[in-house]
């Protein structure tokens, strides 16, 4: 099933916007995580972890779901297909994995924000290396997915070769 070219372009544009926005948001989280770990100012440290929770729910999750949904629409509605090319399959796997980890990680954001909001909690208890680690790994995955989308390395699956024949 192939969509009209104008619809294909719109789906691709939204997919690129959501995916690039997700990379930018992950980079912002890496920055917040570094500030949380290294800043000597207690309100700044607490503020970093407090900001992560709503930002994850209101920015990261919509961008991740938007990227996943528009990626599915773009692949299924164009000649690329979902299971015909290895690069599409790996991009889908990366997107699914990153979205799953993000959704599972929302509880952790909430707990870290709760600790940061508790004025009796010591700063050493508020600081947490986990967001830096997760944001760095997310960036590696998302940049890999972006590279796959740009370079589109060759290689058709058995299903893709059958469809072509």
């Amino acid at each position: 099933m192939s969509m009209p070219p104008s619809l294909q372009k719109m789906a691709l544009a939204v997919h690129v916007l959501a995916s690039v926005g997700w990379v930018g948001a992950a980079a912002a989280f890496l920055g917040l995580g570094v500030v949380g770990l290294t800043s000597p100012d207690p309100p700044t440290v607490r503020g970093a972890y407090l900001a992560m929770d709503p930002a994850a729910r209101l920015v990261l999750v919509p961008l991740a779901l938007g990227s996943l949904a528009t990626g599915l629409v773009s692949s299924l509605g164009t000649r690329w297909g979902l299971l015909r090319h290895y690069w599409v399959i790996f991009k889908l796997l990366i997107n699914l994995f990153a979205t799953l980890v993000l959704v599972l990680y929302l509880d952790t954001f909430r707990v870290m924000a709760d600790v940061a909001a508790d004025q009796s909690a010591r700063l050493v208890e508020v600081r947490n290396p986990s967001p830096v680690l997760h944001a760095a790994l997310a960036l590696v995955l998302l940049i890999t997915a972006a590279a796959l989308g740009v370079y589109k390395p060759r290689g058709k699956t058995r299903y893709g070769r059958r469809r072509q024949a």
Partner: protein, 54 residues
């Protein structure tokens, strides 16, 4: 299958295996890992469920 796809499959399988081994080995995941220690100077933040319980 092209070489890059073979390498990507191997990396994917290794990542999944590492995650499964970490689960079997008892490495804890999730928000419990990030809670401050009980009885610390700052005090632990109670779980929302515990707060809501009568």
């Amino acid at each position: 299958m092209p070489r890059w796809a073979k390498v990507a499959w191997v990396i994917t399988i290794l990542v999944v295996l590492a995650f499964l081994i970490s689960l079997v080995a008892g490495v804890r995941h999730g928000p419990g890992l990030h809670r401050p220690p009980e009885g610390g100077a700052g005090g632990a933040v109670p779980e929302p469920a515990a707060v809501a319980a009568p």
